[in-house]
Symmetry: C2
Subunit: 161 residues, 2 copies
DNA sequence: AGATACCGGACAGATTTAGTCCTGTATCGA
DNA sequence: TCGATACAGGACTAAATCTGTCCGGTATCT
């Protein structure tokens, strides 16, 4: 759980590809072949990205897709939403407003903050970031509950959905 | 996509409940009744939390569950992992090491960082935070791509899985 | 004992995701 | 103008996952 769908993966891979190649344009088949992705599925993903104004499609021979704007202006959040629909951490948010009839779902507000923090991470991450891996190795020690998250979360820019 | 399962929700609700009540102990039925949750399902969740040393179970009449340690020492990440299994942002990480045979899955490393940032958010968030909602209204304007995430992510504590 | 309550596996239904198929339309180039 | 290329998009199937139920079993308190 709490994972991206393969479609979202494929979308990010494709966008990164388009952001990296000199021609800036590639067809579904080209991209699918390069990364060994199922063509029809990738096609659908790219169509969706086109509908949501992230890609521009060019029909006909030598056609394909290209980014609708600069890679630094396309956030991972936008991509994920376009492909998978709205991001939902807890069911409370969407369903019928409140959990069951009782509004003693006391965790809702606190979870909203976690939710927003995660959205913020995705919102800040752009296709540009994907295209240029920093690739510096990092220490890998699990630090349990390091610093209070309150301030961290409170300082974040609100992001809906 | 990118959402918690209901089980994880239930677990968090139950833990928050236990952290809030004076007796510090409650049975499955009590909790389920309070929040209108399906008893057998919640039971399974609580069992899992017991297996993973987050809860302590007390059998017999007037038995139930209580937190195995202070609420401030139980992170949301730990809970989610206990209930839903490892958190996986991209399939690349887990599957067969590399996507397909080709290692041109160029997005893997960058996505790992997003992944870690999200884990970090969950890791810092504790049951304690759940129990004390700050409940201050916040401005809600979507700020697209505010600040470069590079430094933000680089400054985070590494968390595996 | 007997009632309460946890333990844990097996199982069924619903939902979501992954992937395929097929028909249609637009564009380029010969 | 014809034909190949490539996008558009709906319908459909299969697999995986999630949700929820049912059951017999064990521990503990009164």
């Amino acid at each position: 759980m709490l994972k991206l769908t393969k479609k979202a993966d494929y979308g990010l891979i494709a966008l990164r590809h388009l952001a990296s190649i000199p021609t800036a344009t590639a067809s579904t088949k080209e991209i699918a072949d390069t990364y060994h992705l199922p063509v029809p599925l990738l096609a659908k993903v790219l169509q969706r990205l086109t509908q949501t104004k992230i890609l521009i499609s060019v029909a006909g021979t030598n056609g394909g897709y290209r980014l609708a704007r600069d890679a630094s202006k396309i956030s991972a959040l936008e991509v994920v939403r376009a492909i998978d629909g709205p991001v939902i951490l807890t069911h409370c948010f969407t369903d019928h407003g409140s959990c069951d009839q009782s509004d003693n779902c006391t965790v809702r507000e606190p979870l909203r903050r976690v939710h927003e923090a995660i959205l913020d991470v995705l919102n800040r991450f752009t296709i540009d970031d994907l295209a240029e891996p920093v690739a510096q190795p990092r220490a890998s020690k699990l630090t349990p509950l390091p610093t209070p998250l309150h301030q961290v979360i409170n300082s974040l820019q609100p992001v809906s959905n």
